[in-house]
Amino acid sequence: MMASSYNAKEEDRHQPGATGHVGSGTMTNKMPDNTAFKQQRLPAWQPILTAGTVLPAFFVIGLLFIPIGVGLFVTSNNIKEFEIDYTGVDMSSPCYSCSQSYSWNNTKSCTCSVPFSLDQPFESNVFMYYGLSNFYQNHRRYVKSRDDSQLNGDKTSLQSPSKECEPYRSSDKPIAPCGAIANSLFNDTLELYYIDPNGSRTAIPLVKKGIAWWTDKHVKFRNPSGNNNLTVVFQGTSKPVNWRKPVFELDPSDSDNNGFINEDFIVWMRTAALPTFRKLYRIIQKKPNNMTPTLPRGEYILEVTYNYPVRSFDGRKRMILSAISWMGGKNPFLGIAYITVGSVCFCLGLVLLSIHYRYGKRNSADISS
């Protein structure tokens, strides 16, 4: 009795090693169990990484990776992509004047037309992106400056946005949507026109839906419920400072693309990983049962409503047209990397093979002797 009362104390003095008196008390008088686990004799597979065992793996990796890499590389090279910078830094560029005369208070929008030509036609669906450079969407202050519950249609958050939104939280009335991300929504309007050889301009139909994640559009982003009329719903809130129009007028023509569930808005709200990024803007769909390519080769005009200032932070704005393949967009890196790793593995395999034959024998001879 006395002894047991002190055992606990005895254990404790080995704190903080958290040790126990394993052997004391009842343990001492008992023969330890003869189980495989307790005797550390569990049956086990005991692999050893020797040249002999690793060799085949190297060759297998080499033989697998090189074809995959070649496949990726070829596919990536076949993807057509076209990119045009319309920032208007040069005097010669058509958007130069717009980029110079820019101010936030300017209610009159400035437009410019950027002509370009496609050497090759784009088959199938074409994706139209806008790209920004030197824009730190991944800055911490920026990334957290949003209120997800407001965007999810929460009424209380609508009226009192999260503190994270500061300093874009309220301007006499609470801002909806609040925060720096929403405030800096990309608001250039891009339009594409095809110049027929005869000189007439044909507007290319741009599909603005289906560019955001389905889950974002249907679950994560929601307009405040209660009324179909968004004007009423957003009453008592003010638009973000830099916006020209309130959130419920983002796309008045389509109630399914208005307010928080506007897809351009949703795409913008997914902050980019790196300071140079591109975001999906529109989709140019393949014409149904038509043999002509989506974008035939020829002359085009990009009509830009120039609203978005980037000169102040040395930014660039680009428009990108890209096709897509089974492996996504154009990405030569993956293909090259696969080919490199595959060949390195193969070479290492050869090196190891020679080493194995020269030294492996010696070692096993050592052991047997």
Binding site: G20, V22, L348
Partner: protein
């Protein structure tokens, strides 16, 4: 006797404070002494409540938290947590708060539970009923209500409730038997004595009439030391003062045996009892691994701080222009803007610290502790280290040192009981040079007197006859052996010895038992001690009675013991037995030369020898001796010293009678064990109190010295001829010359050194006369380093510790291990890095004070070569891997800062940051560190040289650490830049395109982070899989299971809008990523690249520069089918891509 009282009073009041501090006066039965005697000073002592619990209900939380945060690691994480709470940091406080909370809670629950158990135990003890004598009647009361001075009655088989002074017992002779198993593990019955003046009290009334005070020292923890004095007052008589010693003190925790009941008075209660005082903490030993771990931690702390500083500086350099600091789309808040730039910079620094703090994970400490705690069970579970005979297995007293078992370079071993069985057998005795050998050795069975004597001449001369008689009587009388009568049941079993009183002997010293049993075989049977008369059955079956007057107990300084007896004819005789060196100088007559020759011959044969001498005392001499002894015994102060002086005076002018020889056989497999240890690169030193010849013989028998070993002697005999200086230089020249020669020749002459205690203290003593003498120590160490084995004989216990300390402090700082079984080894066990106790016959003191206790010396082999080796490689991998995986984890975050404007944006989501170390990567490494076996147990035992592969902290040296860290950095770069190139398109400006899915959706920064994290978790886990050499089903389960858990968790975490979160950043991120083909291809590619260099390095090292362990592994693999390996490697490849 007024004088003594006066002296008492004077000494009490004049000695002043100091005297008060170290003694207490106990009033038996709380009765005031007669007014004339001395002033009654009521004193307050703690009550008998035992409080072993640390906490109470209301102080548990604050006290426990305080205790926990005193640990530096916990405090560091608390600090990080507080920083996160106070300033605006990139990660939410949850990320460090949750793990910290988890660790703290688990520890608190564990400690709380233990404390609750302690409370329960305390309660049951404190409420345990005790019989107390009050006003002449027995009153039952609770144990906790007992106070100092209370008279207590204890019945047979009851445990003493507090430290008591025995007053009287139901046995007529005022003795009682006690077993102290629960205190020191010794199961023998010990005899305790009552003071003669009180032993007559038989009833409660009589006891109650006692009027006395006890003066004794203040409580001290030494179980075997006690000094006190009882003053008994009788009406109209002078008070009688009697000495009290440890033999009068019944300790709490001991149990009364073979005695009906006793009366005793409480002197130490509650937390003052020796038992309670003994459960205080020993000094903590730290293992070498822990030291390297701390060194690595400091490196990482420096890395962490420099990372934070670099980033802060770069941040302010980068955002020098306002357009970068505050572009139009990303303004600061007003409050932030108004803050002073220095404060902002400091906050930023702290924020970076917080962002990178995971590089030192909370979970590492928890994992290391769990590994040590759980891992130590394997030692206790090992049935190879279970001893059938003793019924005990190995014991782990501290698990902090498990891995140190794999690092031992020096083994210091005791001889008796450790190398040898400590199972003594009487071999022979010699009286005046005539040798007597018992006819047959029958393990203590009693043979008839006539047949047992072989060489005793039937008609010896008178002088010889007289000496022979004295010799045998001396051995029968001069001991502290108890004769225990067999229980009736046993006597049936053994009862073939018709008519004879059957009994067996119990003693704390096996030598004594062997001697007494040997005497029995030679015809002189010691029967019992009755009424302080020793009874002997002599050769002629006559009972002789000797009155036992004094026992001059054995101690290791004097190395002898004596008894003073009065024979029936009224002669006073002093018998003494002891080591030859302590007897011979005191001998005045007898055949010294013959005996000495015999003793030396026996010693060479490895027998333990004792010399026996006697002195007959005249009544006057006896009176004087008596006086000296009682004076010394009565002293409260310096009693030990005064006793020693008294003994010295009494034990002189001996007449030598003869010598005895007792054999102590080597433990089984002791030689094999020593050989293995030496092969494993350990230096084995034998430290013993024994004679040089005996010890050397044991060393030869145990193969510590071989025939080829050249013995160097550094003994008193040699230093008497030459000066110590010359001897030392001679030896070192011999050794060094040999070394310079052996550079050419392969065959190495090995040396063995023998040194004795006297020479050792001369070597270690810094002598002032010559300036060069300080180098003795160095020269000595130099000689020792070049000797394969060292034998130190004639060592005092403290010298053993000194030697260990000397080696510990030498310039290589080797790891030392001390192993011993007796109380004299305790100091050495405590001093060494690892102390191992043998649960032997000399009590359990060594085992109690050790870090590990094993039943037999041979178990040391498995303990070190197998368990030590395993623990070391396990913990080494654990430590390195933990640092590696956290470099992999945090370095991408550091790199990311260069791409997000140094804004402290975390790369990973909060949940990933929090759970990475807690759940995604914790279990595989914990399991690895518990059950990894890179090589089989049999192989380790068969080839001790494998131990050299892990010696000197081989797996935790800086180059290895650097390799792991570089590997981590490389992997981190691969993860980050791999993902970067997958996401980035600036490098391919003309034709690059962002990675898109089949649904052409865009990926943001969280997908980037998740991609990096997924590659990270898989790579880090698979790296461990590559390191695992022992794949049991548990390994498969845990490794693949934890990867699966990561995937399932991520799916779940991203699959639901979590209502309690104020952000939904991870919503569907993981699913979207998995639905993209390039992401899959990228993940597989990055994992392959990350693992490639490590695999190549492993294969190359193994093929070109294989270590002994690797050779042994390959040797085994030759037997197994190689195909299976390939199969699983390809299988693990396919695993990557689920």
């Amino acid at each position: 006797m007024d004088f003594s009282v006066l002296r008492n009073l004077i000494s009490r009041y004049c000695a002043g404070e100091e005297y008060w501090v170290d003694s207490r006066t106990v009033y038996i039965g709380h009765k005031e002494p007669p007014p004339a005697a001395e002033a009654y000073i009521p004193q307050r002592y703690p009550d008998n409540r035992i409080v072993s619990s640390k906490y109470t209900l209301w102080n548990f939380i604050p006290k426990n938290l305080f205790e926990q945060f005193r640990r530096i690691a916990n405090f560091y994480f608390l600090l990080i947590f507080l920083v996160q709470l106070i300033i605006d940091t990139p990660t939410s406080p949850v990320t460090s708060g949750l793990p910290l909370f988890f660790v703290i809670t688990v520890t608190a629950i564990k400690q709380g539970y233990e404390d609750w158990l302690r409370h329960k135990a305390d309660c049951s003890i404190n409420e345990c009923p005790v019989d107390m004598v009050q006003q002449g009647t027995v009153v039952r009361t609770q144990s906790s209500k007992l106070r100092v001075g209370d008279v207590v009655m204890v019945r047979e088989d009851e445990t003493f409730p507090c430290d008591l002074i025995l007053l009287s017992s139901s046995r007529g002779d005022g003795t009682c038997y006690v077993t102290t198993t629960s205190l020191d593990g010794e199961s023998s019955h010990k005899t305790y004595y009552a003071v003669p003046d009180t032993m007559a009290f038989k009833t409660e009334q009589e006891v109650d009439s006692l009027h006395a005070t006890i003066e004794c020292e203040q409580p001290q923890p030494d179980l075997y030391k006690f000094v006190g004095r009882i003053n008994i007052y009788k009406e109209r008589e002078d008070p009688i003062a009697r000495p009290l010693g440890a033999e009068n003190l019944l300790l709490r925790g001991a149990t009364l045996k073979n005695t009906g009941h006793i009366y005793a008075v409480a002197i130490y209660t509650g937390m003052d009892t020796k038992m309670a005082l003994n459960y205080q903490s020993k000094s903590q030993k730290r293992s070498a691994v822990e030291k390297s771990m701390n060194a690595f931690l400091i490196v990482y702390l420096c890395i962490l701080i420099s990372k934070a500083v670099i980033n802060t500086v770069l941040k302010y350099a980068w955002q020098w222009s306002a357009d970068r600091d505050e572009p139009w789309y990303n303004h600061r808040t007003e409050i932030d803007r108004e803050r002073h730039v220095v404060i902002r910079a400091f906050t930023d620094f702290l924020a970076f610290m917080v962002l990178f703090n995971y590089i030192i994970p909370v979970s590492m400490y928890v994992t290391v502790e769990m590994q040590k705690f759980l891992g130590s069970y394997f030692i206790a579970w090992d049935k190879d280290m279970y001893d059938e005979e003793l019924g005990v297995g190995a014991q782990v007293n501290t698990s902090d040192l498990n891995e140190e078992l794999g690092q031992v370079e020096y083994v210091f071993t005791d001889k008796t009981g450790t190398l040898t069985e400590n199972n003594m057998e009487f071999i022979e005795c010699c009286v005046d040079g005539h040798v007597y050998i018992p006819h047959a050795i029958c393990n203590g069975q009693i043979l008839s007197a006539a047949s047992s004597i072989d060489m005793i001449d039937s008609s010896p001369g008178g002088y010889r006859r007289e000496h022979e008689d004295l010799f045998f009587r001396a051995l029968c009388l001069c001991h502290t052996v108890q004769a225990k009568e067999e229980e009736t049941v046993d006597s049936i079993k053994r009862g073939i010895h018709l008519g004879k009183p059957t009994s067996f002997y119990i003693s704390s010293s096996p030598d004594e038992v062997a001697l007494v049993e040997g005497m029995k075989r030679l015809g002189y049977t010691y029967l019992r001690l009755k009424d302080s008369h020793m009874e002997i059955l002599n050769k002629d079956d006559e009972i002789e009675r000797f009155e036992l007057l004094h026992v001059l107990n054995f101690d290791s300084v004097r190395r002898r013991m004596s008894v003073i007896v009065k024979s029936s004819s009224g002669e006073y005789l002093l018998f003494c037995k002891g080591a030859d060196t302590s007897i011979f100088p005191r001998v005045v007559s007898g055949k010294v030369e013959q005996v000495r020759a015999r003793v030396e011959q026996n010693a060479v044969e490895g027998l333990r020898t004792l010399c026996v001498a006697y002195r007959s005392l005249s009544p006057a001499e006896y009176e004087e001796a008596c006086h000296q002894l009682s004076d010394a015994k009565l002293a409260l102060k310096d009693r030990e010293q005064r006793l020693a002086q008294a003994y010295d005076l009494i034990e002189r002018d001996f007449t030598l009678l003869g010598a005895t020889a007792v054999e102590d056989r080597l433990q089984e497999k002791a030689a094999d064990t020593i050989e293995s240890l030496q092969k494993a690169g350990m230096k084995v030193w034998v430290l013993t109190g024994d004679k040089m010849e005996t010890a050397a013989a044991t060393c030869y028998a145990s193969k510590l010295f071989r025939r080829s070993t050249q013995i160097l002697e550094l003994t008193k005999k040699r230093t008497e001829e030459q000066s110590l200086h010359d001897v030392l230089f001679d030896l070192s020249r011999t050794v060094l010359r040999q070394r310079s020669l052996s550079g050419l020749s392969v065959e190495c002459q090995d040396y063995g050194l023998i040194i004795d205690g006297a020479t050792l203290s001369a070597v270690l003593k810094p002598s002032p006369e010559s300036s060069g003498s300080g180098n003795y120590r160095e020269i000595f160490l130099e000689i020792c380093r070049n000797c394969s084995a060292v034998l130190c004989c004639r060592m005092a216990p403290l010298q053993k510790a000194q030697i260990v300390k000397l080696i510990k402090a030498s310039k290589e700082h080797p790891i030392t291990l001390a192993i011993g079984d007796g109380a004299n080894d305790v100091s050495m066990i405590l001093e060494a890095h690892v102390g191992i106790g043998i649960m032997g016959k000399e009590g359990r003191q060594a085992a109690r004070n050790s870090d590990y206790a094993i039943p037999k010396f041979k178990h040391l082999k498995k303990m070190l070569l197998v368990h030590g080796h395993f623990y070391y490689i396990r913990i080494a991998e654990l430590v390195q891997y933990f640092f590696y995986k956290n470099v992999c984890f945090i370095f991408p975050q550091f790199l990311y800062q260069f791409f997000c404007g140094f804004s402290q944006q975390p790369l990973y989501d909060t949940a990933y940051l929090t759970l990475y170390n807690i759940s995604f990567t914790s279990l595989p490494i914990l399991l690895y560190s518990l059950i990894e076996k890179h090589i089989s147990i049999e192989m380790l035992k068969r080839d001790p040289t494998l131990y050299k592969d892990v010696a000197k902290n081989a797996l935790l040296r800086w180059p290895v650490f650097l390799y792991w860290t570089c590997l981590g950095l490389f992997n981190a770069c691969i993860f980050f830049f791999g993902a970067y190139f997958l996401f980035d398109n600036t490098t391919f400006t003309s034709n690059g395109q962002l990675m898109t899915t089949n649904t052409q959706m865009m990926f943001g920064n969280w997908t980037f982070g998740t991609l990096v994290f997924t590659v990270l978790v898989f790579t880090v886990t698979l790296k461990l899989a590559l390191d695992t050499h022992h794949w049991t089903w548990i390994n498969h389960f845990v490794i693949w299971g934890s990867l699966l858990f990561y995937v399932i968790f991520s799916l779940l975490w991203g699959g639901i809008i979590w209502p309690f979160l104020n952000y939904q950043r991870m919503y569907y991120v993981f699913m979207q990523m998995l639905s993209s083909g390039p992401a899959w291809l990228g993940i597989i590619l990055l994992i392959a690249i990350s693992l490639l260099p490590d695999v190549v390095k492993k294969v190359l090292c193994r093929t070109l520069w294989p270590t002994a362990t690797e050779r042994a592994q390959s040797n085994r693999s030759c037997l197994t089918v190689e195909l299976s390996t390939i199969f699983v490697l390809t299988q693990s490849d396919s695993r990557l891509s689920f």
